[in-house]
Subunit: 345 residues, 2 copies
């Protein structure tokens, strides 16, 4: 094969953010066109060269743009280097036996057109290309697995339990027979089949709102918000309720986190609050992928995406997460190469 | 039996406290000598009349002297009525088949000389009267059971785990082979065989102190303090650590609880924080009593009490819990009637 080289447009971090800049778009990212990359992996390398199709915009990325004195569970980005996140990719050239040119995969990649992935063991194959490939930045990927593990393994749900939860986890809860109220930072119109939903940013008195929605208490709270939301939830939990903590988005762009005052309810109501990270559950991925693909086919789970086009729009797309302007999973289409839709009989 | 009547000195609640008065002795309690009580239970009654020997001073009692708009897990005291808590009692007269005059029991009773107990099913028999009977206000009663359940059932300890814990639970942890640092609101000299101990009220920088004591992180934190202590513990927890929450004494006398800012560590360190109440575990009592009696006999557990004499001193004794002046379990000797010590061969 002749060695083909192309240019490579990429989003790089220019400088570290201060914590209070998290929700604002400044000059901390830059879209540059880098020098040509060769479109095959170096001879003898075990690496994989991918063409990026979709990249995922996630709240934790903004946190990686801050320089942390004390290391967090994931490394800080480095100024001058490309921003990375999960994405959907097509293999162009492979030095690894598990992958060949043309394979569709998801995993950690760069915000650029082409990425050389030196640890291809971290990639997952896409087994259901009949779905929109962009689903592999969300419902069929780490985000869906987070919901799946958070609900089925961490919450230990009982039929009829009540919970205030996110998009996918709420639908899993509905499938299981729970009474589900969604809570989001925007006006959620579709409700995804939930029993009801509200915008936590618009409620004057969150604690009273929750009392109204859950007169008999909340059995399962899937924590993605933190701060004032958690403070309003705690007095509304039912005895022995569970709080599954997977994120606290309301706290990421504060100089100092809000203090949570109602923790004594953990004692009086005998609550369990437990944090988890999907990294610890990747061994469940293919079982999850199969089950979730089934729910999607049967339309038991529906899924909303907010797709913007092109790497140039990626920095702004990330900010939309914090301004509450994105509805559904925010992602960027870098290049559209949808595999032909599989026709079912 | 001739009907004998005696007078009955008792401590009554005069008026409700405001939250900020919790740690101060005011005129909210009064010691009065009530009219004579008959020393036998009414004919046909299932009640039990007891003579109170020891009464227990516990932080939660101050909280029962506040009028709560929203009910807590235990009812508020009523002005004009006797203060109640756990105590050690001798049965004087019984209308219940399970009890007879002379039996030694522990359970909920009044801060007075004699109490008519209408629900004797709630009483526990004392099976080891060879120990100081006062131990049945603490190490051999609900408090010991709390430590026992909190440690063996809630913490799921592994040998070699590290924990910052209270008097009895720390010794159980030592028996299990854990590295134990005690933390108390006073200068703890005895250390109860712990690996070390510190006064959390005297540390300028609690977070740094904990980092010094636990360079590899805390596996189990037994939470009885809350507020700033919890905020200092969270960044020092090890991955997958457990926080067993049984009380938050630092918060009881505040108008508004302190905000806890470091909760995001629950997510990043995948911590489990769980509240429990010993009420839910009373079915384990007699198994626990036997096991704890064994530890005490073998001197694997030592136990420190702070005993004051007479009902007149009871109100002040309760305050000592909050001023940090009591070392060990605070209790009041109402009448001393220790059963003859059992001589072991």
């Amino acid at each position: 094969m002749a060695l083909v080289a192309v240019s490579n447009k990429r989003v790089i971090l220019k400088r570290y953010l201060t914590a209070c800049e998290i929700g604002q778009l400044g000059d901390e990212m830059e879209v540059v066109t880098a020098e040509a990359v060769p479109l095959s992996v170096p001879a003898g390398s075990f690496a994989v060269l991918v063409k990026n199709l979709y990249i995922s915009c996630d709240p934790y990325l903004r946190n990686r743009m801050i320089r942390h004195e004390v290391p967090t569970y994931i490394s800080d980005f480095v100024p001058g280097e490309v921003v990375t996140s999960h994405g959907v990719m097509k293999v162009i050239s492979s030095g690894h036996l598990d992958f060949k040119a043309g394979d569709l995969v998801w995993g950690m990649t760069g915000w650029e057109e082409y990425t050389l992935i030196n640890n291809p063991e971290s990639l997952f194959k896409i087994n259901y290309p009949e779905f929109p490939l962009s689903n592999y930045t969300g419902v069929l990927e780490m985000h869906g697995l987070t919901a799946y593990v958070g609900f089925f393994e961490m919450s230990k749900p009982k039929k009829g339990a009540s919970g205030a939860v996110g998009q996918v986890v709420g639908q899993l809860a509905k499938i299981t027979g729970c009474y589900v109220i969604g809570s989001a930072g925007y006006d959620e119109k579709s409700k995804f089949g939930f029993d009801d939903a509200f915008n936590y940013k618009k409620e004057q008195d969150l604690e009273a709102a929750l009392r109204r929605y859950f007169p008999e208490g909340i059995d399962i709270y899937y924590e993605n918000v933190g701060g004032k939301m958690l403070d309003a939830v705690l007095p509304n939990m039912s005895l022995g309720g569970r709080i599954v903590a997977c994120g606290m988005i309301s706290q990421y762009n504060l100089e100092q986190p809000e203090g949570v005052r109602n923790l004594y309810y953990i004692v009086t109501k005998r609550l369990r609050m437990e944090g988890f990270h999907v990294f610890d559950y990747y061994d469940r991925y293919y079982r999850f992928e199969e089950e979730m693909a089934g729910y999607l086919k049967e339309e038991k789970v529906s899924y909303v995406e907010d797709v913007v086009e092109g790497l140039d729009t990626a920095p702004a797309a990330l900010i939309r997460l914090f301004t509450g302007r994105s509805v559904g999973k925010q992602l960027v289409a870098v290049a559209r190469e949808q595999a032909p839709a599989h026709q079912e009989n």
